[in-house]
């Protein structure tokens, strides 16, 4: 097998690590504090990733069919049937796409940071952490062992801790990084439990082995569901899904480039990547067919995936509404990220990891652009993050303005932009999911409609809050004249990343199409999904030939051009393809409508200043506004619940004490009095003299024995040994006699 992908992947991963080691020890002594070293290391990684992408993924019609493997034994525990832990690398289409995303965003963030962080304290340390962060994420991508993934997963967590708390002298930053770390531990506990279940049942951590075990029915369906949910818990915390999303907005305490890196490519993407990678596992067991779901292509009836879809959908709408009421521009973007992650997770949940991945890809580009753009704004405004103090900045920051606007259009799902296509992929899948279940159950299957509904409404909210942000920052009159007068466009190192990302945000639609952007945009708007779908179709993800053929033909993955599903395709896929056809047009129209509605509403309220009376105290939306400003009280609940629980426990203990212990004590007291009375009588009448004699004996004996209690530890040792010797002698004599 061609080992080039493996070698390149290892090199891509190793370069940032080397850069980190050099930077952390010698960075201070290098020219420019060594910022060029991690930047160029990641840049070289980007070049190699792109080479891999173009030769391996786009080189073949459906990408690499056979993933490249390489492994090295790391630990082998036990003698007869050893439990082997391998150091494993697997490169398939999915890893290569992720490699490109991570190295691209990371490289641009590095570049941006050379301008943004200029003159900051611990400048060299910042770049060292960035390199380590990139390394951890790359390691997480290229490995094919769940255990290795977990290790890198934790490393990513550590790096985010270091970077969020980069300004650790600020109390809020110190608290935020602690919060991020601890919240992630909650999910990781579940993840680790799932890992242990896998280790117990499968006896290996390797992805192919895990998928094989599912295929061969080594799992009981119940345990498989439980393990899947446990694994998903890891993604809930890492990808900031409800209710563990609380750390992500607080993570805004870190420097802005770090926010871009965390939100676009590394930390939060890790969770989505993990559930995409584990998709065959999460899809579970198809009870009807008596086979694993990935053999029958039926991804639509798994309980685990349904839970994932619900969590994702709920997070999408939940966070989107909160973002409406935020004034800190970074907080708006943070909640926007949480919401968009909800889309990705829901996409996986409704049975389309390809759609989820595609949204991850496009979102990484425009969200990185938005965050870096906000960094540029914040720098121009001298570290002011409140949008109420901005306004009219489009004349002062022309490049930032244009790029920010383009990324916003992409995020809002406006047609002709990449965001629309990926978002629509997710939504169509969700709608088809409902159609499929409607058909299956014969009823309305309303609970299966919820993910779609959530995300559709969230789409309107997304457009609304993003345009609220853009209007607030760039249009209208300057609200802080002094800051406005001193604002100036950022240096070239910061605007170039913005332009690159904005360009990708626009043409991201066509970038994955073989042969470049299509001539007829609307005809081709599904092409990228087909390619991303093809990226999933390597044998690492789909071991069944029939499913793979269906996948490659595009039938399983939403190609409108495919009218006929291959004959060999499993029934579930044929069924779903039908549902998908029904879903296509309604979703596109609805999603576009929602987006336009949101934008129009934002203009109506913030540009023309209408409708303010509804949110004033006493207005019909006021209660909701209060809830939004308080973030739906999730943080408060997290703070209050442990306290309330402790109080409740204390009351419970007190009650037990009062009812049970007290009555026992009282009862014992009464019993003792009765006994005492009886004993007193007997004592008085019968054994008075004898008792007194015994008492005196005991007293005298006690006086003797007391002397042994010297408090010298050595005496106690001596006595212990002496006692043991006596016991020993007795035993010896006893055994010899018998």
């Amino acid at each position: 097998m061609d080992q080039t992908p493996i070698l390149l992947a290892l090199l891509i991963t190793a370069l940032p690590l080397c850069a980190f080691v050099i930077q952390v020890f010698f960075g201070r002594f290098l020219p420019r504090q060594g910022d060029w070293l991690p930047t160029s290391a990641v840049g070289a990684g980007l070049v190699m990733s792109l080479y891999l992408f173009f030769t391996q993924v786009l080189g073949a019609p459906h990408g690499m069919e056979h993933p490249a493997f390489w492994k090295m034994t790391w630990l082998s525990i036990g003698e007869t049937s050893p439990f082997v832990v391998n150091f494993e690398v697997m490169i398939d289409n999915l890893s290569i796409v992720m490699l490109v995303v991570v190295t691209l965003v990371s490289f641009l963030v590095h570049l941006f940071s050379t301008g943004y962080m200029k003159g900051e304290e611990r400048y060299n340390r910042f770049f060292a952490y960035l390199a380590l962060f990139t390394f951890s994420m790359l390691g997480l991508i290229i490995t094919s062992s769940m255990l290795m993934l977990f290790i890198f997963w934790e490393l990513v967590g550590l790096c985010s801790y270091l970077l969020i708390g980069f300004y650790f002298t600020k109390d809020s930053a110190a608290a935020a990084c602690k919060k991020a770390f601890l919240t992630n531990r909650v999910g990781d506990t579940g993840f680790f439990l799932g890992l242990m279940m896998i280790a117990t049942v499968v006896g290996s951590f390797s992805f192919p082995d895990i998928f094989d075990s599912v295929r061969q029915g080594m799992w009981s369906p119940t345990l498989l569901t439980i393990a899947g949910i446990c694994i998903f818990m890891g993604a809930v915390s890492k990808s900031a899904q409800f209710p563990l999303h609380v750390w992500l907005p607080d993570a805004m305490e870190g420097p802005t480039p770090v926010s871009a890196l965390i939100h676009a490519a590394t930390m939060v993407a890790a969770g989505v990547y993990m559930i995409v990678r584990m998709f065959p596992f999460l899809a579970g067991w198809d009870a009807e067919a008596g086979q694993s779901a990935m053999m029958t292509g039926n991804y639509f009836e798994s309980d685990t995936l349904f839970l994932i879809a619900m969590v994702g959908g709920f997070t999408a709408i939940f966070a989107a509404t909160i973002a409406v009421a935020q004034y800190d521009i970074k907080k708006v973007l943070a909640y926007s990220t949480v919401s968009q992650l909800g889309y990705m997770v829901m996409g996986v949940g409704v049975g389309s990891p390809a759609a989820g991945m595609y949204h991850l890809f496009t979102h990484a580009m425009f969200k990185a652009c938005l965050f870096l753009g906000s960094g540029s704004i914040i720098l121009a405004m001298h570290h002011e993050q409140d949008m109420r103090k901005m306004g009219g900045l489009r004349k002062k920051l022309p490049i930032t303005h244009i790029t920010f606007l383009l990324a916003t259009l992409a995020l809002s799902g406006v047609p002709f932009f990449s965001g629309m296509i990926s978002k629509e992929a997710v939504l169509t899948q969700a709608y088809a999911y409902w159609e499929y279940h409607k058909h299956l159950s014969g009823g309305l299957a309303l609970e299966r409609f919820l993910p779609f509904l959530f995300c559709l409404v969230a789409a309107a909210f997304t457009a609304f809050y993003m345009f609220r942000l853009v209007i607030g920052i760039f249009y209208g009159k300057p609200r802080d004249q002094h800051a406005y007068d001193h604002a100036h466009e950022s240096p070239r190192t910061m605007t170039i990343p913005l332009m690159v990302l904005a360009a990708i945000a626009v043409i991201g639609a066509g970038i994955a199409v073989p042969g470049g952007p299509g001539t007829d945009w609307f005809e081709n708007r599904n092409a990228p999904e087909v390619v991303v779908g093809g990226m999933m179709s390597s044998e690492a993800m789909v071991p069944s030939t029939e499913v793979r053929e269906a996948w490659e033909s595009g039938a399983a993955w939403h190609d409108v051009h495919v009218e006929e599903v291959p004959e060999t395709a499993p029934p579930a896929i044929k069924e779903f393809h039908h549902a998908y056809h029904l879903a296509h047009w309604p979703t596109f129209l609805l999603a576009t409508l929602c987006g336009i509605l949101g934008i129009a509403l934002a203009y109506w309220i913030f540009f023309f200043n209408r409708g303010k009376e509804y949110v004033k105290p006493g207005g019909i939306l006021d209660t909701w506004r209060v809830w939004l400003v308080n973030l739906y009280y999730v943080d408060d609940i997290f703070k209050a619940v442990p306290i309330a629980f402790t109080h409740w426990m204390a009351r419970l203990c007190a009650a037990i004490d009062r009812v049970v212990v007290d009555s026992v004590v009282n009862g014992a007291g009464i019993l003792g009095m009765v006994f005492a009375w009886v004993a007193g009588k007997i004592d008085y009448w019968a054994v008075d003299g004898a008792v007194r004699g015994t008492g005196e004996l005991v007293l005298a004996g006690g006086e003797r024995v007391r002397r042994i209690q010297t408090g010298r530890i050595q005496d106690y040792v001596g006595l212990t040994v002496f006692g043991m010797t006596i016991v020993f002698v007795v035993v010896m004599v006893w055994t010899n006699w018998n």
């Binding site: 630990l75 082998s76 525990i77 036990g78 003698e79 050893p82 050595q714 005496d715 001596g718 040994v721 002496f722 010797t725 020993f728 002698v729 010896m732 010899n736």
Partner: protein
């Protein structure tokens, strides 16, 4: 090789083996007695050095080469030096301790010691131990002996044991050492506000 020849050679090896054992036993016991009777704590530490070396020799004599080396490194190189440091840091005045406790206490301790020693030796002698062979000379059935004769040493086998059958205790002990490291550093640290010493 004839039976007689082997016998004679065996006898010679046997006596040599025995002589070394007695030498090592003396090397272990005599310094130990020195520890008991010594009045100077530094002398005690140096006597302890002798005993530890003797024990290391006994380990080697039992074909436990890795253990012998570990004994030298850890006990003599680590623990004994640590003890010497402790002595230097805690003795205000003379590096010399009085015979410590009162005479009756000493007498009872010695008595107890003698009883224990005699009792143990007596019972050891009285018990029929399950022994694989009357191993009077190094035999090749012995796993560690084989390793030593082959020149591999026991380290490889012990390493395999530690990372397979004994992986859990091994990991626990690693954590214990970490805890001790932190704990000892914390306890021994002089309290900056306490102002003592």
């Amino acid at each position: 090789m004839s039976a007689a020849g082997r016998g004679r050679e065996g006898e010679w090896a046997l006596s040599f083996h025995a002589i070394i054992f007695w030498a090592l036993a003396a090397m272990t016991i005599v310094p130990a007695i020195g520890i008991v009777v010594s009045k100077n704590i530094v002398h005690m530490a140096f006597w302890l050095l002798g005993t530890l070396l003797g024990v290391a020799g006994l380990y080697l004599h039992m074909e436990a080469d890795f253990l012998g080396m570990t004994q030298v490194f850890v006990y003599i190189g680590g623990i004994n030096v640590l003890l010497l440091f402790g002595i230097m840091l805690t003795n205000r005045e003379p590096l010399y301790v009085r015979a410590a406790v009162k005479r009756p206490a000493i007498a009872s301790a010695v008595l107890l010691g003698v009883v224990v020693a005699v009792g143990l030796i007596q019972s050891f002698g009285a018990t029929e131990w399950h022994t694989v062979k009357d191993a009077v000379a190094p035999g090749l059935a012995d796993a560690s002996a084989k390793a030593v004769v082959n020149g591999d040493g026991t380290a490889a086998t012990l390493g395999t044991y530690l990372l397979s059958d004994y992986i859990l205790p091994f990991e626990i002990v690693s954590i214990l050492l970490l805890v001790v490291l932190v704990g000892a550093a914390y306890i021994a640290r002089r309290d900056p506000e306490g102002g003592s010493a």
